[in-house]
């Protein structure tokens, strides 16, 4: 697991540094793996080796690793370079795929998200709903993040540019700008956003990173918050905590430009995954163009009942209408 994580981190990091994203369409699966491994090995080993890279024309070229400028910035340099967090990560187009067939409502994503953002238990940026589309349909667990829509209704209505769409596809909130009018909450059809109605409770405030729209923490009173796809983690070459904490690999996170997504243990072609498993977007007809795709809850790994195990009475109570 740890090894996987470090490889993936390097893979992502190399991607950031080399700007491969723009040439991704020409990339075959094999080449991508080769390239990923090469870049990863190099990042791990240091300089002195040659690295195979894909040129803009689609040829594989070898360059000396010392010529590569690998971006090894840490959190502080991220902050310094991009104080407002309003600029997207260049060349990226983040995307998420959620495999409903794998979810058993373990709720590790929910707690990991809360821990990472220092938010209390009753505030869920990531929720797991129990969906039942009609009377005869089988119920299924439905993890719901922010959809980071390409046509975001929330961004349209914000009067002060506190919530914004970035070039890398993310919809973020600047809590230093937000005036707390809640119009975005009215506009979001997915009930994604939460409001700090009172003084927000901040869990373990001492370990909180400094605030930026990318860290989304610590919470600020009377402002709106939501799932942010953890761009601060991505900048460090890590995956969002919901992805890594999931025991069943439900969440695939990646880059649409690279056409690659990973759930931590397997890295796959984004387009191929959607094709093979009939990926779809939730409520496509609303026209919001989400960046989150779902794989239908077919060939399930767990019966839906598994999801009721080990729930607190409070959480269990939520699903009483469908149970």
């Amino acid at each position: 697991m740890d090894k996987d994580t470090s490889k993936r981190r390097n893979f992502l990091r190399a991607g950031v540094a080399l700007g491969l994203a723009t040439v991704a369409p020409a990339l075959s699966r094999g080449a991508a793996e080769l390239l990923g491994e090469a870049a990863a090995d190099d990042a791990a080993a240091g300089t002195g080796n040659t690295v195979k890279l894909l040129s803009p024309t689609g040829e594989i070229v070898e360059v000396d690793a010392s010529e590569l400028k690998l971006d090894t910035h840490d959190h502080a340099s991220t902050m310094a370079r991009n104080v407002t967090g309003r600029e997207g990560i260049e060349g990226r187009k983040f995307v998420m795929v959620i495999d409903l067939g794998r979810c058993r409502n373990a709720r590790k994503c929910v707690t990991a998200c809360q821990k990472m953002h220092h938010i209390p238990e009753d505030k869920e940026w990531l929720q797991v709903k129990l969906m039942k589309d009609n009377d005869n349909a089988a119920p299924y667990w439905f993890p719901k993040t922010c959809f980071h829509c390409d046509n975001p209704p929330c961004v349209k209505v914000c009067p002060v540019d506190a919530t914004f769409k970035r070039s890398d596809g993310l919809v973020l909130i600047d809590n230093d700008r937000c005036i707390g009018c809640k119009f975005c909450m009215a506009a979001c059809p997915y009930s994604t956003r939460v409001f700090n109605w009172g003084e927000p409770e901040i869990i373990e405030p001492t370990t909180c990173p400094p605030y930026s729209p990318e860290t989304s923490t610590p919470s600020k009173h009377s402002t709106v918050e939501k799932c942010d796809f953890c761009p601060d983690m991505v900048r460090e070459g890590k995956l969002p905590d919901c992805v890594t904490s999931c025991p069943n690999g439900v969440f695939y996170f990646g880059d649409e430009n690279e056409d690659t997504v990973t759930n931590g243990s397997e890295t796959v072609r984004f387009s191929a995954l959607l094709k093979e498993k009939s990926g779809y977007r939730f409520m496509e007809d609303l026209g919001t163009k989400p960046r989150v795709y779902y794989l239908p809850p077919s060939s399930r790994m767990f019966p839906v009942e598994r999801g009721f195990k080990n729930l607190t009475p409070e959480v269990k109570e939520r699903f009483k209408d469908i149970q």
């Binding site: 969906m131 209704p153 119009f183």
Partner: protein, 455 residues
């Protein structure tokens, strides 16, 4: 000139009312003053502790504040439309009620936006609306609309009052010198020359032509705060015109109530006559019909096609264990009672018209509640929440107290304004009395029945 003479008589009648406070009026001020202070305390609590003290939560993110916002703004828009239309169509009878209509406009456009401020979590960042405005946001449209409208409404009120300011500044027997100085300042050198009369009338006409379409625009913009979202019950193409009609309907009702109250309080029976009630009553019937048509058409289309969320919302609205009673009151009583009581001549009287107005004003407040709260309680994604206050909205004492404070503010400001300018415009009413005397004298045997028999 006769008008001068009549206006002197009126001045003698209204002058003392302007300058002194009766015991009853003081009690009135004290009563609403206390309610207003209660609201200030509630505001203090809300500002220090945050919106947690309200009943609003993550699903129902707006509550009675926004209901009051729509309500007061609607009243205001109606005042402007009535005053503007009456000025343009120029019927003589309008003159005694013009001041009330314009005062209503200005006072409600001051109170209404205060409620939207109460919905804003970070009042300390309010200036961001001007520092970083985004034109795409309907809230920014509304900020522009309300400010534009406020300026127009104030100008209209002022221009209509100039002649009275001139009269009051020349009334040494009733006014203290400092007040006469103030009136003289506000009269802006108006000495009733022909040119001044012409210019003033022209200005009022131009302003009416500007204000009436402005009302349509600003009312629509208000509705688009809701219409521009992907929510059942909000995302509707008729919301613009629907809100325009609803606003005028409510505001006309409120004007009737104000006329009734001042008529009783200040014994104005000679000036605010039955015909004023009847004419506004006719307007109410027409508006009720139009508004009722919109209401029917809005609910019918949602109900008939039964799209998932619309069907859910309609069920919530109509179910008696949910919003049923409110729904039937707002959409049936609030429309049918005025039509029946005013529409059928046998039932028509000052009291029934006032009663209808009271019912419809209340119904329209509930209607706004029905637009806001049930929709927010019907999200597209199932709530699956166990926190009762998140599932179902109930306004807290803070919200009710601030609601009462808004009503108190309305009465207080009205009363204060009526101490500064006569609630029945002196100049124009004198004009009306003279003109009607003249027509009555020309049609020899006829007596001015409307004036005497109905008070």
């Amino acid at each position: 000139m006769n008008i001068e003479k009549t206006s002197n008589t009126l001045l003698k009648e209204f002058g003392p009312q302007l300058a002194t406070w009766s015991r009853r009026e003081l009690a009135w001020m004290a009563f609403w003053g206390i309610i207003f202070l209660g609201g200030l305390y509630a505001l203090y609590v809300q500002v220090t502790e945050g919106h947690i003290v309200t009943g609003m939560r993550d699903h129902v993110i707006w509550g009675v504040y926004i209901v009051n916002f729509i309500f007061f703004i609607g009243i205001s828009y109606a005042g402007a439309v009535i005053a503007g239309l009456l000025h343009l169509f120029n019927p003589e009878w309008r003159k005694p009620i013009m001041r009330m209509a314009t005062l209503m406009t200005v006072i409600s456009i001051i109170i209404g936006p205060l409620y939207i401020l109460l919905c804003i979590g970070r009042l300390d960042r309010l200036h961001y609306l001007f520092m970083y405005p985004r034109l795409q946001s309907p809230i920014v449209w509304d900020v522009i609309a309300v400010i534009t409208f406020l300026v127009g409404a104030l100008l209209f009120l002022y221009l209509l009052a100039i002649r009275d300011f001139a009269i009051l500044s020349r009334s040494p027997e009733v006014m203290a010198p400092w007040r006469r100085k103030l009136y003289s300042f506000f009269s802006a050198g108006f000495i009733n020359t022909r040119m001044q009369r012409r210019d003033l009338n022209l200005a009022l006409t131009v302003l009416s032509f500007i204000l009436i379409p402005t009302v349509v625009i600003v009312s629509s913009v208000l509705s688009w705060i809701f219409g521009m979202t992907l929510r059942p019950g909000w995302h509707s193409t008729i919301f613009g015109p629907y809100f325009v009609l609803a606003a005028i309907y409510t505001g006309t009702g409120v004007l009737v109530l104000i006329m009734w109250a001042f008529r009783k309080l200040q014994k104005l029976e000679a000036y605010i006559q039955e015909r004023h009630f009847v004419y506004l009553g006719y307007m109410l019937v027409a508006l009720a019909a139009g508004y009722g048509y919109f209401t029917f058409s809005e609910y019918l289309t949602d109900w008939y096609t039964s799209e998932k969320w619309n069907a859910e919302l309609i069920h919530r609205l109509m179910a008696l264990d949910q919003y049923g009673y409110m729904f039937y009151f707002a959409n049936f009583a609030g429309i049918l009672i005025p039509i029946i009581l005013i529409g059928i001549p046998k039932f028509r009287s000052i009291n029934t018209i006032t009663f209808s107005a009271a019912i419809l004003v209340l119904a329209m407040w509930f209607k706004r509640y029905l637009i806001i709260v049930p929709t927010l309680e019907t999200p597209l994604i199932p709530m699956q929440d166990t926190r009762l206050e998140y599932i179902h909205y109930t306004a807290t004492w803070v919200e009710w107290s601030l609601t009462a404070a808004g009503i108190a503010m309305f009465f207080l400001m009205f009363k204060l304004a009526s101490k500064f300018v006569p609630i029945v415009p002196i100049w124009e009413t004198s004009e009306m009395i003279e003109k009607e005397k003249k027509t009555a004298a020309e049609a020899t045997p006829a007596t001015p029945t409307t004036q005497t028999s109905l008070s």
